[in-house]
């Protein structure tokens, strides 16, 4: 088979560049920053070269089983997405990080993470995926913990903890999968699973493998790290986490759902349920949040839920999955682009104010039309307003649900379950609108009653020219994708169908027909109501000066991590484990002590000659305890024990 050297280069070049950059950075910081930009630019060029090709490369005997890479449709889409977003973020990093410590470390791990992430997206077998997945978890952890304050450390520890647990559970699943199928090559696994009559016995294995990927994607109930870690990381790192790293988890879910459990309704339903819960939970958390980055983080979680629903629908729809497949990949791409714009805008705000609480950053953007425009594009995109890109993918996902309801209807089955999914879907879409309106209004529309105390005076522009140009370009791209879906979005979807086992739909989707717009209108109506009736009335309150302020009404105790995960994992289970381990650990020593009591007459446990303290001390007790029994009493005791043993022997 023809080997394309580009694939391993894309993965390993950033890692080598990271080391070089680190060495350079010790001498010259400016050169290091430019080197990082240059590296990511080269990588972006490299991924663009892969478009339209079907490249393969394998490194046998590497890390034991060997690594293998593949670059085809969906993988290339994800790789291009990764490298371009990485490039943009790196350019932005230069400005954002100008006053940070330990930048050398950040750049090193940032480039390492790029290599590892590309390794995941370009992997042809799950072994390769896993190796790079673990690398990515650890290198990105350093990005999350970068600021090193106590809250950040706590959030990062949760991130690492869930990543390690997730990795180990996934590894367990891979062990079993490899044992059963004899391979971890994704295509070979797909073939192997196609020959299996009963896929349900693989559900446990699949669930185990899913665990780690779901944790990274932030699916319920493994999402707890996400609302903490995203805001804790420096904004460029958050952008990468949200735009790319979460998609690495989704890639794993895709491999499981579209290769291993292709067209499997049971599995699809499981994924759908996970997706629905994640979508709603994320949206509700976002509505309650009063912190800009936290809102965006919860929004990421919710959007990942939308993607997961689309993946689940692929399984349920079986071979009619074109709409769901298109929705999956388009929502992945759209969400990445949208979050790039939104998080980088949030970064600009944080850079100027050093604050993220809505009450403190309120009204800051009122007189900044450029930033307002950029942010607005992101808001309109993510809420799924027609003519913006989010609308395209959300419509596809919605249509796939509607299609399934029709299929069920034709088959004469109950549609209540799927109809409720549809309504939850529209409701979550509404919540998206509500929380995005909340932050947009707060930052760009309202006036801050405490403006003079909140805003430090900063000389010069609030954003550098380079960043402004890049952000504007990204923001303008969003409506372009939304207005010309046939030229842009459909192309991306066409490239990806093959991976998901789907065929392009027979006729192009009428994105702007009334049937399809209706869903969006319902969502917008719900969103408007939620914003006006719930957010303005319940989540805002007049403070002692009579000004309306945002308050955090989320119940403190309602936190899975603090209530369940941490106590169980850090206190209860270790206590039980240590209890048994201590018993086992001291079994032999206890036995020896008892023997010593029985054998040595001397109560200190010393053997003659007592004057030599080195070679006579036959005791490891710190204190010389008085040993039970001595002389006559002990002899009697021993006789008793002997008699008892003899009795038992005779009896049995």
């Amino acid at each position: 088979m023809h080997q394309n050297i580009l694939l391993p280069l894309l993965v390993f070049f950033p890692m080598v560049a990271a080391i070089l950059g680190y060495a350079v950075g010790r001498k010259n910081k400016e050169a290091r920053n430019n080197w990082a930009c240059f590296t990511t630019f080269l990588v972006m060029g490299g991924t663009l070269l892969l478009i339209g090709k079907h490249a393969r490369y394998s490194l046998p005997e590497f890390c034991g089983l060997g690594l293998s890479f593949e670059g085809d449709g969906l993988r290339v889409v994800l790789a291009v997405l990764t490298s371009s977003i990485w490039f943009i973020t790196t350019v932005f990093t230069k400005e954002y990080f100008a006053h940070y410590h330990n930048r050398n470390r950040y750049y090193f791990f940032m480039l390492m993470t790029l290599g590892a992430t590309l390794g995941i997206f370009l992997s042809a077998d799950l072994y390769t995926t896993f190796i790079f997945f673990e690398m990515m978890s650890f290198t990105s952890f350093v990005l999350v913990i970068h600021q090193e304050s106590d809250e950040v450390i706590r959030a990062a520890q949760t991130y690492l903890g869930i990543a390690i647990i997730g990795g180990l559970v996934t590894l367990m699943g891979l062990f079993m999968m490899y044992h059963m199928a004899g391979t971890l090559n994704i295509e070979a696994l797909a073939k192997f699973m196609a020959t299996q009559e009963d896929k349900s016995k693989f559900y446990i294995v699949g669930g185990l493998i899913l665990f780690g990927f779901a944790a990274k994607a932030g699916l319920f109930p493994l999402h707890t790290w996400l609302p903490e870690a995203y805001p804790a990381a420096p904004t460029p790192a958050t952008t990468l986490l949200s735009c790319i790293l979460s998609k690495a988890g989704i890639f794993g879910v895709l491999v499981l759902s579209c290769k291993i459990f292709l067209f499997d309704a049971g599995w699809g339903n499981f994924i759908l349920i996970l997706g629905v819960i994640t979508m709603v939970t994320g949206a509700i958390l976002a509505v309650f949040s009063v912190n800009l980055k936290r809102t965006l983080a919860c929004s990421s979680m919710s959007q990942i839920g939308f993607v997961t629903i689309a993946i689940g629908m692929q399984g349920l729809l079986g071979s009619h999955n074109a709409l769901a497949a298109g929705g999956t990949i388009l929502h992945i791409v759209n969400h990445s682009l949208l979050k790039l714009v939104l998080f980088l805008s949030a970064g600009v705000i944080y850079l100027n104010l050093g604050k993220l609480n809505l009450n403190e950053i309120r009204g800051w953007g009122k007189d900044k039309p450029l930033l307002k425009f950029i942010f607005l594009m992101g808001v309109l995109g993510i809420t799924g307003i027609p003519f913006w890109n989010g609308y395209i993918s959300k419509t596809l996902i919605h249509e796939s649900i509607v299609e399934y309801i029709e299929l069920l209807h034709e088959a004469g089955q109950s549609t209540i379950y799927m109809q409720s999914v549809e309504w939850i879907f529209l409701f979550s879409g509404g919540l998206t609108l509500a929380y995005m309106t909340k932050i947009f209004v707060a930052i760009f529309v309202e006036t801050n009653p405490y403006a003079n105390t909140c805003y430090p005076s900063r000389k010069g522009d609030y954003i550098s020219k380079v960043s402004a140009v890049i952000l504007t370009l990204c923001a303008v791209a969003l409506p372009i994708v939304g207005i010309f879906p046939y030229l842009t979005a459909d192309k991306i979807a066409d490239a990806s169908y093959h991976f998901m086992g789907a065929h392009a739909p027979e006729h192009a989707v009428q994105y702007f027909a009334w049937v399809n717009v209706k869903g969006a209108v319902v969502s917008i109506a719900i969103g408007g109501l939620v914003y006006l009736l719930f957010i303005r009335k319940v989540l805002m309150e007049r403070d002692h000066n009579g000004n309306l302020v945002y308050i955090d009404r989320w119940p403190k105790g309602l936190n899975l991590e603090d209530r369940i995960y941490r106590p169980v994992l850090l206190i209860i289970l270790p206590f039980i484990g240590a209890f048994f381990a201590r018993i086992a650990g001291s079994l032999t020593d206890g036995f020896v002590s008892i023997l010593r009591m029985a054998i040595f007459n001397d109560d200190s446990g010393r053997v003659v000659p007592p004057e030599d303290r080195y070679f006579s001390a036959y005791t490891d007790e710190e204190t010389d305890k008085i040993v039970y029994g001595e002389g006559f009493a002990k002899s009697l005791l021993m006789i008793g024990v002997g008699l008892a043993v003899a009795m038992l022997y005779i009896l049995f």
């Binding site: 890390c63 690398m135 304050s149 106590d150 450390i153 590894l171 381990a581 086992a584 650990g585 001390a617």
Partner: protein, 488 residues
């Protein structure tokens, strides 16, 4: 004496060189002598290990003799031991500056090597037993080196447990002498099936007790208790080799007994196999759990050894080629990683005097290179790719799932995973606190404490080895496959 006399040279050279080293007063000269001896020893071992050869030193009776033989196992372990011995020696040259009586330390340090090489090269049970006891006795002075009451007590415990374990081995030897054609090691076993007929259960019991006895050195439950007591009290370079290498002495004996005297076929499916698997799993969990709860750094590492060496025993007792490969890979990766960890602990004690885990906050800011090596070794022990530990864990798990031990396989792999999680818990917490001490850390007290080259270079070499062997494990794997091709 018959055979290749060259074989005797690596066995006796360190012994006599060690005695001489004990009398060299000048530090520089002594260090040079130590380095040259171990380097020459390494070269000699590599040289004699290149060809398969044997040597009978002394025939005591027609069945008992002191004899050496080079085969795959001998090569693998001897080279590994010498390399690590050399690196730890370089480290100790700096470390021993703050300990008393360095000459005595180096004397026994070098002499122990001769017992270990002899153990690797042994061709029969007699030689094995003799070398095993010699190893215990020669390493005993390393444990009690500080001569504090606590160390002496630990040393006595070490001696007591080891001799008791060896006694169990000797007991088995008596039986084997009757039921084997010969007690020379032969791949696939030397049992005389005609004599055994009807006594299978007796022989299985003998096997069980021999393995438990030799398992004492490897820290296997129930004879593990000496290890967490003895390893922390020794000077750090000594704990490093005790944990990394001496425990593997027990592993060599178990391999010889299992695969070269009894034979895997005889044991497979017996109650002893199940019992030993269960014992090793108990050890794996217990070790990790106690390490997680331990506050003293070196003691934590010692518990970690208890757990990690039992991975090896678990792999061996699976009695499958894949499990065997995993076990031997784990031998190498654990030896290297645990050496790094103990040497790092040594460097910290040497430079900062900290022994408790909680004192290590912010240590990464003071000793970045040392803690970097510590991190790499931790990643390997937990089994994070692309470090070595991941590869051995992969083989161990595949070996378990592919063997005929039923549900114990799933239980075993689960315990491996739980233990990996605990390992992450007790090692990464040190790394995290070390590099990211948090808000209320006094940054002004931070000063560069990086030790000098004598300490750093061995650490760096070992760290590179962990990564390199993890990425390219196939050279080792092929070598091990050659061994397992013969014994299965």
């Amino acid at each position: 004496m018959s055979g290749d006399t060259m074989l005797l040279l690596p066995v006796i050279l360190p012994f006599f060189a060690g005695i001489i080293i004990g009398f060299i007063k000048d530090e520089k000269q002594r260090n040079r002598m130590v380095f040259v001896t171990i380097a020459v020893e390494l070269a000699l071992v590599v040289y004699v290990a290149m060809v398969e050869s044997s040597l009978t030193v002394w025939n005591m009776t027609n069945r008992l003799s002191i004899a050496y033989h080079i085969d795959g196992i001998a090569r693998y372990f001897a080279v590994l031991i010498c390399v690590i011995w050399l690196l730890a020696a370089v480290f100790s040259m700096e470390y021993m500056k703050h300990e008393h009586k360095p000459a005595r330390f180096f004397m026994f340090y070098v002499m122990s090597l001769s017992a270990l090489v002899s153990l690797c090269f042994s061709a029969n049970m007699m030689t094995l037993y003799f070398s095993y006891e010699l190893m215990t006795l020669l390493t005993f002075p390393l444990v009690i080196h500080t001569q504090e009451p606590q160390a002496v007590r630990a040393g006595m415990k070490y001696l007591g447990y080891s001799i008791f374990g060896a006694g169990l081995g000797l007991l088995g030897f008596f039986f084997l002498n009757t039921y084997c054609f010969t007690t020379e090691f032969a791949p696939g076993g030397t049992l005389n099936m005609a004599l055994i007929d009807g006594h299978e259960n007796l022989l299985v019991t003998v096997f069980f007790f021999m393995t438990v006895g030799f398992g004492c050195k490897a820290g296997m439950f129930p004879l593990h208790a000496w290890l967490p007591t003895a390893h922390p009290v020794a000077p750090s370079p000594a704990s490093a080799v005790l944990s990394g290498i001496i425990t593997k002495g027990g592993v060599i004996c178990i391999i010889r007994v299992t695969f070269y005297l009894f034979g895997a076929d005889f044991i497979r499916g017996s109650w002893a196999q199940t019992a030993l698997l269960v014992l090793s799993l108990i050890t794996i969990f217990m070790g990790s759990m106690l390490a997680y709860k331990e506050k003293l750094l070196k003691k934590r590492l010692a518990y970690s050894t208890v757990s990690q060496v039992s991975y090896v025993l678990f792999g061996l007792m699976l009695l499958t080629p894949v499990g065997f490969t995993g076990a031997l890979l784990q031998v190498a990766f654990h030896a290297v990683a645990k050496n790094i960890l103990f040497l790092c602990a040594g460097a910290i004690i040497y430079k900062k005097g900290c022994t408790l885990v909680e004192e290590l906050r912010g240590i990464g800011k003071e000793m970045p290179i040392v803690m970097g090596c510590f991190t790499i070794a931790s990643l390997s022990l937990v089994g994070i790719p692309p470090m070595g530990g991941f590869v051995s864990k992969w083989f161990l798990a595949q070996g378990a799932l592919g063997s005929s031990i039923g549900t114990l396989a799933i239980v075993g792999v689960t315990i491996l995973m739980v233990s990996a999680l605990l390992t992450a818990g007790y090692l990464f917490s040190i790394v995290l606190d070390g590099f990211f001490p948090g808000n209320n850390f006094n940054y002004s007290a931070v000063q560069k404490r990086e030790p000098n080259d004598l300490m750093i270079i061995p650490l760096l070499i070992l760290s590179i080895a962990v990564v390199f062997l993890g990425v390219f494990p196939n050279c080792l794997e092929m070598f091990i496959n050659n061994i397992s091709g013969v014994i299965f």
